[in-house]
């Protein structure tokens, strides 16, 4: 008898690809669609999990771009507190595809607008990255100055990028009713004032996310027509949901939607690829449990496993240090490893009661 399953590779079958394979290395799980070498210039953005990718690529000796590096004399904890070197731009967490799209559109065509400066108690914040200046700035004009600088530096960085790694984090966001622009975090949580007439809750659908991913790719090609796009989905659950659902159900919906949109986008796009970090961390077949006792923070061992699979597939593991960077090692002693990453949405936890 002849049928399509005859002659398929081992990774097509659960028994050979999962049940009886080396589930530490998961051979065949990730087959790079394009090369990343030590000479490749990589840019990163996305949810807090995206910070791992940039960090481990640096450890592996890759060139991870940094549009706004901190001063050489700035100690690393200070740099992180002020949003430096977490991603390739000082844009803070970019949780949704819509936020990424609008950032790229602003970098390409726009300039900072006064309406998106948040004022609280005489301190001023950039509504699209409210946590990068923890104390806020002295004036709205200074926020505009810093944002225009940020946009220009990000533009210059993107022109140098061969590969853009984007980690999708959430489907939920809060939108400015008048302009349609979304915020990384609900107004009022880390700055600004929530106004139910002005701020609209959005839970982006598969179709919307798919459209945003296409728009992201189109925008990236304006900076470099040859730029490749690597998409991942963060395995980190939602801190909170505004859907009215149970947060567990909302997390499943959100991640499934992101995963499906990413899959469809990559299947239909040239020069785009998906890396299954989400599956490696969350699927029961991958072992674990890979979450800390709070069932949200990803254990460092899981991050190492994810990144070892990624680096191995790209031939970048040889010569790379076996251990994560010193700062990560130090954080392993912390009781709460969440401190390792800068996650703006954790601010919502303060309202958990």
């Amino acid at each position: 008898m002849s049928h399509p399953y005859v002659g398929m590779p081992p990774e097509a079958f659960w028994k050979t690809a999962v049940a009886e394979t080396d589930r530490e290395a998961f051979p065949g799980l990730y087959r790079p669609a394009f090369a990343i070498t030590h000479d490749t210039t990589v840019a990163t953005a996305g949810s807090c999990f995206a910070q791992h990718i940039g960090r481990y690529l640096r450890i592996a000796g890759c060139t991870v771009l940094d549009a706004e590096p901190p001063p050489r004399s700035m100690p690393e904890p200070v740099a992180q507190r002020y949003g430096y070197s977490l991603f390739s731009g000082r844009y803070g967490n970019v949780y949704t595809a819509r936020q990424m799209r609008q950032l790229l559109e602003e970098v390409a065509d726009g300039s900072a607008e006064h309406r998106f400066v948040w004022e609280n108690d005489g301190r001023y914040r950039d509504a699209f990255r409210p946590t990068v200046e923890p104390e806020g700035l002295d004036s709205a004009e200074e926020v505009i100055l810093h944002r225009n600088y940020h946009l220009e530096r990000t533009s210059r960085m993107l022109q140098q990028a061969d590969v853009f790694v984007f980690t999708l984090g959430l489907t939920e966001a809060w939108e400015d009713r008048e302009t349609g622009r979304v915020f990384p975090i609900c107004p009022g949580v880390a700055g600004g004032t929530f106004d139910p007439d002005q701020h609209v809750f959005r839970n982006f659908t598969h179709a919307e996310i798919l459209a945003d991913l296409y728009a992201i790719q189109a925008q990236l090609r304006r900076f470099n027509p040859e730029m490749k796009l690597l998409v991942t989905v963060s395995p980190v659950p939602l801190t909170a949901t505004a859907t009215g659902q149970h947060v567990l159900e909302a997390t499943s919906w959100s991640k499934a939607t992101l995963r499906a949109a990413a899959g469809e986008f990559v299947a239909q796009s040239k020069d785009a690829a998906y890396f299954p970090s989400y599956e490696i961390v969350t699927h029961p077949a991958s072992g674990g449990p890979w979450f800390e006792p709070n069932l949200r923070s990803v254990k460092i061992e899981a991050v190492e496993k994810v990144m070892a699979i990624f680096l191995e597939a790209h031939g970048l593991l040889d010569g790379a240090p076996a251990e994560p960077s010193q700062s990560t090692e130090q954080n392993e002693d912390d009781s709460d490893s969440e401190d390792d990453l800068i996650c703006d949405d954790l601010l919502l936890q303060a309202f958990a009661g």
């Binding site: 706004e68 004399s73 100690p75 904890p77 200070v78 002020y82 002295d138």
Partner: protein, 271 residues
């Protein structure tokens, strides 16, 4: 009324000690002790029975040789002063090397900020960077060490700014100073240093005493009359600093610092 003050410090304590030796009558009632130690030897001490006791031979030797004491009876003093110990404008200058913040004239004059080699930084980020760097220096570390042993007032006096001699002869180690002077940024650099230093010292439970204003030239330098003739920190204090020393101040400078200390400790609620 007497004021018993123990001055601790690294090499910069020599200026204060020389001032006292030159003109003790200038401060009636002041009963100072000067305990100097090079490098980080001040930290190699422990608290034992109300006394600051050397924990190693090198510190014990420094206490004996430079201060004439075996240890320090913390209960015998009304206040403590930590002088120099690497709290200097140099920390701010390090940050200034590759970044600028709002308020600096050179930044206001730039048309394309993103094109320049210097990074745009918020004032708060620049200050936080300086604070974090200063916190690792001897001064704050020793203040923290000392604060755990006593609830008496503790002051930390600024290390002198580098000598105005650098204006006549440029030094590679003061490149940022030269840039700040030529860019008109020296005043801003001085201001952020004093802001950051005051904060980091307050966090340690002490009070920062800035460099005496009359000794400052062009905001980030020490005027030559307060640098020429500086002495090394030796037991007898009779060795001059090398001629190319731009770091250490003289007895005239030390006298103004002691004036500040006496004045500050005279204020209620000091540190």
């Amino acid at each position: 009324m007497s004021l018993r003050v123990c001055f601790f410090g690294n090499s910069h304590i020599a200026a204060l000690r020389e001032a006292w030796r030159d003109d003790a009558a200038r401060w009636p009632g002041l009963e100072p002790s000067f305990v100097g130690a090079h490098k980080d030897l001040l930290l190699k001490t422990v608290h034992r029975n109300g006394r600051l006791v050397p924990s190693g031979n090198a510190t014990a030797d420094a206490f004996r040789r430079l201060g004439g004491v075996e240890d320090v009876d913390l209960g015998a003093f009304d206040a403590f002063v930590v002088t120099g110990c690497l709290i200097s404008v140099a920390t701010a200058a390090n940050t200034y090397r590759d970044c600028r913040w709002v308020g600096l004239p050179s930044l206001e004059a730039k048309h394309d900020l993103a094109a320049g080699p210097e990074r745009l930084l918020s004032y708060a980020a620049a200050r936080a960077s300086m604070q974090a760097a200063m916190a690792t220096r001897l001064g704050p570390k020793f203040v923290t060490h000392l604060r755990a042993m006593t609830d008496k007032p503790i002051l930390l006096t600024s290390q002198p700014r580098v000598s105005a001699a650098i204006k006549a002869k440029r030094r590679s180690v003061t490149r940022a100073h030269h840039t700040a002077l030529s860019n008109g940024d020296a005043e801003g650099l001085s201001a952020i240093f004093e802001d950051a230093a005051a904060r980091v010292i307050a966090e340690c439970g002490a009070r920062f005493v800035p460099q005496p204003a009359p000794t400052i030239e062009d905001h980030i330098l020490t005027a030559l009359p307060y640098m020429n003739g500086a002495k090394r920190l030796t037991a007898r204090g009779n060795l001059p600093q090398p001629k190319d020393d731009i770091m250490h101040a003289n007895a005239a400078y030390g006298a103004l610092v002691i004036d500040q200390v006496v004045s500050t400790l005279g204020d209620k609620g000091s540190a």
